[in-house]
Point group: C2
Chain length 356, copies 2
């Protein structure tokens, strides 16, 4: 019984100012110069505002990795063959992929979701099947999916995150897998931010110069053929998006509707965040930009949403890997707020007020 996406949006409220003020005050009283922990302080205060708890604790953590295939791969936009999407999904289920390693490191569970991988999967205890179709259509020829499929993808994502919340969830990270999905994400980025395609299109898994030029032309063609309405995010998702991107839109909206902080990973998660923010600008308050991807369009996405990445490690893998590393830093920020003593608690002399 998933929420409709409109219901989720209506449930997204402003952050709790009272909790944020209490967190700010405690941060200012901790045994350190005011502001000396910089971004760590801001993160803890944001989590206080999201959760409504002035001393939030992060214990239950999940990375939701959504996979799907992309019809645009037929136009030759990726170095890797399409079957890699399914093969990587087997890695997620076996626990051998990058996101599994990093999730174990930070103590998070990986939730793997098939949103529409060609060929599908045998039932697996760790696999959630929300398949919309066996991959999208080639967006250079027409819409990648129908409007109803776009809505179904979003509502499936809401369903997935609400199921995780029912098991216990204090923070969630987004992750993706889908050969061809930097192409869809660049198209979404260009459509919503209005930037030229060439300025937001990157090398994906490692395209050369000529292949990159071809990728730009394919995206320009897809936007020309489909003419997505930049004010209508469902239209953008349907025409040039992907099923895993739609699913992640639902994860973000569902998390925000339930006051759960959501870490945005890389370029594909950023495209989902752009759609979510266009549907509901208030949702950005629940987002933490995990890291700055090498993909050049990622910066344009963050600028559009006024988000600043926590990490910049020159990464471009997706899967939620950058978000997982950031999640541990967010958890640490809440421990600082909760466990570190104030000057009063430690009976340490404060700064000389006269000198200030």
């Amino acid at each position: 019984m998933a929420k409709s996406y409109q219901e989720a949006i209506q449930s997204i409220k402003p952050l709790d100012e009272t909790a944020m003020q209490a967190a700010r005050q405690r941060q200012d009283e901790l045994t350190k110069p005011v502001g000396a922990l910089g971004r760590m302080e801001e993160l803890s205060i944001q989590i206080a505002g999201i959760t409504g708890n002035p001393r939030p604790k992060i214990k239950e953590k999940a990375i939701i990795v959504m996979a799907a295939d992309h019809g645009v791969v037929a136009s030759g936009v990726s170095l890797y063959p399409q079957e890699v999407t399914a093969q990587m999904m087997h890695g997620f289920l076996a626990g051998t992929a990058g996101i599994n390693v990093l999730s174990r490191h930070i103590g998070a569970r990986v939730v793997a979701v098939d949103m529409g991988v060609i060929g599908g999967f045998e039932p697996h205890p760790n696999l959630i099947c929300k398949m919309i179709d066996f991959g999208t259509k080639d967006m250079t020829q027409g819409p990648a999916m129908t409007q109803q499929q776009a809505i179904d993808a979003i509502e499936s994502g809401i369903d997935v995150v609400e199921a995780e919340i029912s098991k216990g969830l204090d923070i969630v990270g987004t992750g993706d897998m889908g050969i061809g999905n930097t192409t869809a994400s660049a198209a979404i980025c260009a459509a919503i931010t209005g930037k030229p395609v060439a300025q937001v299109t990157g090398r994906g898994t490692g395209l050369g110069d000529e292949q990159l030029a071809d990728k730009v032309k394919m995206i320009e063609k897809a936007l020309e053929v489909n003419k997505p309405d930049l004010k209508d995010a469902i239209d953008v998702l349907a025409k040039v998006g992907g099923f895993e991107i739609g699913g992640l839109v639902g994860v973000i909206l569902g998390a925000a509707a339930n006051r759960i902080p959501v870490i945005i990973d890389g370029f594909i998660s950023g495209a989902a965040a752009l759609i979510a923010a266009t549907l509901c600008p208030q949702a950005t308050a629940y987002m933490i930009a995990g890291h700055q991807s090498v993909e050049i369009g990622h910066r344009a996405m963050y600028d559009h949403m006024k988000l600043e990445p926590v990490l910049n490690l020159n990464m471009r893998l997706g899967e939620g890997t950058g978000g997982a590393l950031a999640m541990s830093i967010v958890e640490a920020s809440c421990k600082i707020l909760d466990e570190m003593f104030t000057f009063a608690e430690a009976e340490v002399a404060g700064a000389d007020k006269e000198v200030k």
Copy 2:
């Protein structure tokens, strides 16, 4: 029986190129596009070269926090009274300070060392006493310490890190506490990098504009009075340094001599790294720059040593806090190298070689 600092320097060898090549090859074969984990890949390869192990594992972790007082505080360079040094040390021992919280988060032990705090401490099971003197002299009036004290401080640091190595140590982070120590660190930075004092002197715990101008004048006076020899790092340390800075020089040299990676924390740790790098340029290969401090001189230090910080979180607390967060990322980088499957291991189809 600590090594002499000359013995430690003689023990510092180049990184193990064979181990690094094997690590590079495995990174290129993991189930991801080549280079897609960016800095994470580089970190794991550096650790392979440091340890000589192509698949290094990081389990035993320590942050060595060294504290001392500074005579220059008499010249009014800090907002906080000098007794805060000792009071914060009590916090480290009680487990209530920022570095304790972050060390628990990453699974590292905190090693608190008294290098010369005014008043001293009662014996405590978690406190290592290597006190050189009850704080340095005021460097605006003459040398902060004698040349022999500088050498004793460094060799005490070597002793401390070698004692930790004997307990089991895979990586070490540097941390500091000492009211007035951004003044000493800025003086060291100006002396060694040759940059103007005003360009490398920051607000420390939060000085206003006038107080900052006074701090710059004090440092200029100290350099004028003492004329440290920029080619002689022991001379620089003695004339404008601090006991905890000298101790951290020893931690860095001792770690490098024993092929243990060392995470450099903030501005004070950076000053120690500058001294260590001047004594032994090869030591920089064993360093990982944990984070970029808000202190403006920190960038000049890293540029001088050609190091790039892992994190930039707008922090300026010291204690080893930025280094602790970076340590967890370094540990994660080694897990990626060791635990993530290669394409052959996962039997996933590789990239289409023809397209490449």
